[in-house]
Subunit: 424 residues, 2 copies
C-alpha cells in the first residue's frame, strides 16, 4: 500500500469516472443512438462500483477521493441497484417489483455467470442423473466456475460442498431449506463430502441475542438440517462458537484471510462503517474459511487443493467474491458457486421469507392446519378484483405466491405447467 | 468522513517533510555545525513519525500521500505526546530525550496512577517480602487499581497474573525479560496462577513472516520464558495460534469483546487506518481476552469473577485501557495493571531495545564475550570529550546506558549507589 503506483488508482478512477459522466451527458445532449447511451451508462455504473470497492467511498462529482476514512452511505455494490429498485446484500433483500428481484441484472452487477441450458445438460451428462427441479426451473440461476468443477470431476478430481445457515431463531422456515435440499441432491449425485457452517457467532454480533441463545439456535437448526437426509458418513455440521475454538487449522486459515483483506475492502463489499464493531468487520473471514479444504484436516487429511462448491442464495455472494479474491494470494483454489433465487415471503416476491416476521413465513414447526391458514390468509395471489372473477380467471402465475411455492416444491413438471395454464 | 476538508493535513505534512529533507541535505552540503545538523535530522525523524501516524504510510520522497491509505489524524491518547517529544504505542517507542521517556507525563497522558512509596510499602506489608528492586527503583512506576487488588487480597480474595510476549524473532533480548522477572517475583510472593500469552497471530498480522515462523518463534521464546523459573503447577503458557483453536471459552470471550468495540474506538486507541487488514483491526480483542478468568476454565473452573493483574511495559497499556472499558459491559471485573519503563537500547534511552536491530540489543543467546564487546562498542555513556577526561570523571549516570542496565539487574542497592557516586 506504500507503493506509489497502486496509490494513484483511486484518483485515476475518479478521473475516469468524471470523464465518463461527461461522455454520458454529451451523448444524451446529442441524442445519440440508444444502444450507445446504454453502453456508456453501463460503463459509468461499472466504474462507480470499482470506485466504491477501491476507495470505500461513493463517487461524488467535484469531490476527489478523500484521505480520511470514508463512510459508506449505502450498502456497496450489492445495493446500489440499477435504477435503485433492487436491494440485495447478506442482510437485506427487497425490490419494488412484484415478480421479484431482476436476477439477470443481478448477474451483471455481481459479475457471475448465468446457469444456461447447456450447463444444466452438462450436469445431467456428468452426473448421469436427471437435473434437480431447481436447475430445470432456473431456481439455481447463477454460478461461478461450475464448468471448471465439472472439467475436473470428469478427470476424476473430486470436490466438496459447503453451505451454511445463520441461526437467528429456533425454528427454520421453508425458505431456509432451499440450499439444503439442493445440496443434498448434489451430495447424492456426486457422492462427495459436505461441510455445513452454522454462524452462531455472526448472529451474536449482528443481533440483540446472547451467545448462549445463538448457540442453542445453532443446535436446534442442526436438527432440521439433519432431517434433510445428508450422508452421515460424509457430512460435517459445525457451530462457529464450537469449531473456532476446537480447530487450530480453521483458526490459522481465518487469520490468513484476515491478513489479506483490508477494512477498505470490507467497507466496499459489505458497507461496514466506522461505527460497526470489530467483530462484524472481521467476521467475513470466518464465513470464508470453510471454502478451503485445509480448514478441515479431519476430513481432507491436510490437503489444501480440493476445490469447494458452494450452493447458496445469491445474497451470500459478497462473502465469496471476497473469498475468491483472497484465495490465490494465500495459495488456495477459488471456491465455485451455484446461486439460488430468493424464496418469496407470503406477502409477495418483493421480499424474501424472513424468520423475524412470523406472518411472512411458513416454519418447519407449523402444523399442516397452521400452514393452510397462513396460505389462505396471507399468500399474495395478484388475482382479480372480485371473488367471482378470481374464481373464474384464477391468479396471475407471475406474481402468485402459492404458485411460486409450487415451482420450488412440486416435482412433477407437467402438473406444474397445467396449474400455470389454469391460472393464466 | 467523506468531507473534502479533512483531507488536507497528510499533504501538508508531506510538504513539510520534503522541505525538511531539503534543509538537512543543504546543511550537510554546507558542512554546517554538527549540532545544527543533528537538530535538523531529529526534526526530520519527528515529522516522519507524525506522517506515519497520520497517513498510516511510510514517507517516501516524491510520493505524495495516497488516497487509499487513510488517515488517522492522530493516534489518540497513546501517541499524541505533550509537546510531541515522546512517542509511545504498542509498536513504537521513541523520545528526543537522552534520559528516556518522561514517565510522569505519560502517567498523566494515559490516566494511570503513579506507584508511590506508600504503595510499595503496602505491597511489602501485604506480601511480607522486601519489595523487588523494580519496585524500589521505580522501574514498575505506574499502575491501575493495585490498591483494590491488595484490598481484596487482604480479605482472602485472590487474583491471577497475566503477561505476554509478541514472538517476532527466535531470540529474546534482555529487555524482554523485565516483565517476566517481575511477574515471577509476584507469583512467588502471592502464590497465584499465571497465564502467559504468546501473540504469534499478532506477529503474523503485523510482520512479513509466515504463520509457521511465528509459531516456531512462540515455541522458542517459550523456552526462554520457562527458564525464568515460574511455578510449573500454576503457570499456563500458550500460543494464540494454538489456543484460539483449542478453547471454545476463549473464543467466546474474544467474540464478546469484539461485539463491544467499534472501529472508531480502535482507530482512536491504536491509530488503525482504513488500509489496515481486518486481522489487525480485530486483534486487540485477542490480547484482551486473557484478562478474564472465564477464558481459562481449565484453571479457574469456569469462574468469571477472579481479578487479573497484568504486569507489562507501559506501551501495552492501550490494549488494557480498551479491555477495562469493555469489562463491565460484558459482566467481568476490570484487570489491574502494573506498568514498567522501557529497557533502553544500547545507543541510549531515546528508544527501547529492539529485537529487529541486532546492534541495539543484547540477546539471551549472546555469549558473555559478545555481550562485553557490544557494551564496549555500542553502549552510550554520555561521557566526556577525551578518553583521559572520561577516565577521570566517569560517565553521566542519568544517560549512561551501562549504568541504567545495572539499575535493572544489580540487586545490591548500596553497590549501585556507590557506582552512581563514582560516575557523577
Amino acid at each position: 500500500m506504500t507503493d506509489c503506483q497502486e496509490a494513484n488508482s483511486p484518483m485515476e478512477l475518479y478521473e475516469k469516472l468524471t470523464a465518463q459522466g461527461d461522455k454520458v451527458r454529451a451523448l444524451k445532449t446529442d441524442k445519440a443512438e440508444k444502444a450507445e447511451v446504454v453502453a456508456a451508462v453501463q460503463m459509468l455504473l461499472k466504474l462507480k462500483v470499482d470506485y466504491k470497492q477501491t476507495t470505500g467511498q461513493d463517487y461524488k462529482a467535484g469531490c476527489p477521493p478523500s484521505e480520511t476514512a470514508a463512510a459508506v452511505t449505502d450498502n456497496g455494490p450489492a445495493a446500489d441497484g440499477d435504477g435503485g429498485e433492487d436491494n440485495v446484500d447478506p442482510w437485506n433483500v427487497s425490490t419494488t417489483n412484484a415478480k421479484g428481484v431482476d436476477y439477470d441484472k443481478l448477474i451483471v452487477r455481481f459479475g457471475s455467470s448465468k446457469v444456461e441450458k447447456e450447463l444444466v445438460d452438462r450436469i445431467e451428462k456428468v452426473s448421469g442423473q436427471k437435473p434437480h427441479r431447481f436447475l430445470r426451473r432456473g431456481i439455481f440461476f447463477s454460478h461461478r466456475d461450475m464448468h471448471q468443477v465439472l472439467d475436473a470431476y470428469e478427470k476424476h478430481k473430486s470436490f466438496y460442498l459447503y453451505t451454511g445457515r445463520g441461526p437467528s431463531s429456533e425454528a427454520m422456515h421453508v425458505g431456509h431449506l432451499i440450499p439444503f435440499i439442493f445440496t443434498k441432491w448434489l451430495q447424492d449425485v456426486f457422492d462427495i463430502p459436505l461441510v455445513i457452517q452454522l454462524t452462531d457467532d455472526e448472529k451474536y454480533l449482528w443481533k440483540d441475542l446472547s451467545l448462549e441463545d445463538c448457540h442453542r439456535f445453532a443446535v436446534e437448526n442442526a436438527k432440521d438440517i439433519i432431517a434433510c437426509g445428508f450422508d452421515v458418513n460424509k457430512t460435517f455440521i459445525f457451530s462457529d462458537l464450537d469449531y473456532m475454538g476446537a480447530s487450530p487449522d480453521f483458526y490459522r486459515n481465518v487469520v490468513k484471510i484476515q491478513k489479506h483483506v483490508t477494512f477498505n475492502q470490507v467497507k466496499g463489499i459489505f458497507g461496514f462503517t466506522d461505527s460497526d464493531c470489530i467483530g462484524k468487520i472481521s467476521f467475513p473471514a470466518i464465513q470464508a474459511a470453510p471454502s478451503f479444504s485445509s480448514s478441515f484436516p479431519q476430513i481432507f487429511g491436510g490437503r489444501k487443493d480440493i476445490q469447494c462448491l458452494i450452493p447458496c442464495a445469491i445474497d451470500q455472494d459478497p462473502y465469496f467474491r471476497m473469498t475468491r479474491d483472497v484465495a490465490p494470494r494465500i495459495g488456495y483454489p477459488k471456491p465455485a458457486l451455484l446461486h439460488s433465487t430468493f424464496f418469496p415471503a407470503l406477502q409477495g416476491a418483493q421480499t424474501k421469507m424472513s424468520a423475524s416476521d412470523a406472518n411472512t413465513s411458513i416454519f418447519l414447526t407449523d402444523t399442516p392446519k397452521q400452514i393452510k391458514s397462513k396460505i389462505n390468509k396471507h399468500a399474495f395471489s395478484g388475482g382479480k378484483d372480485t371473488v367471482e372473477e378470481h374464481r373464474k380467471y384464477g391468479g396471475n402465475a407471475d406474481v402468485d405466491v402459492s404458485f411460486m411455492y409450487l415451482t420450488f416444491f412440486l416435482e412433477d413438471d407437467e402438473q406444474l405447467e397445467k396449474i400455470r395454464q389454469v391460472s393464466v
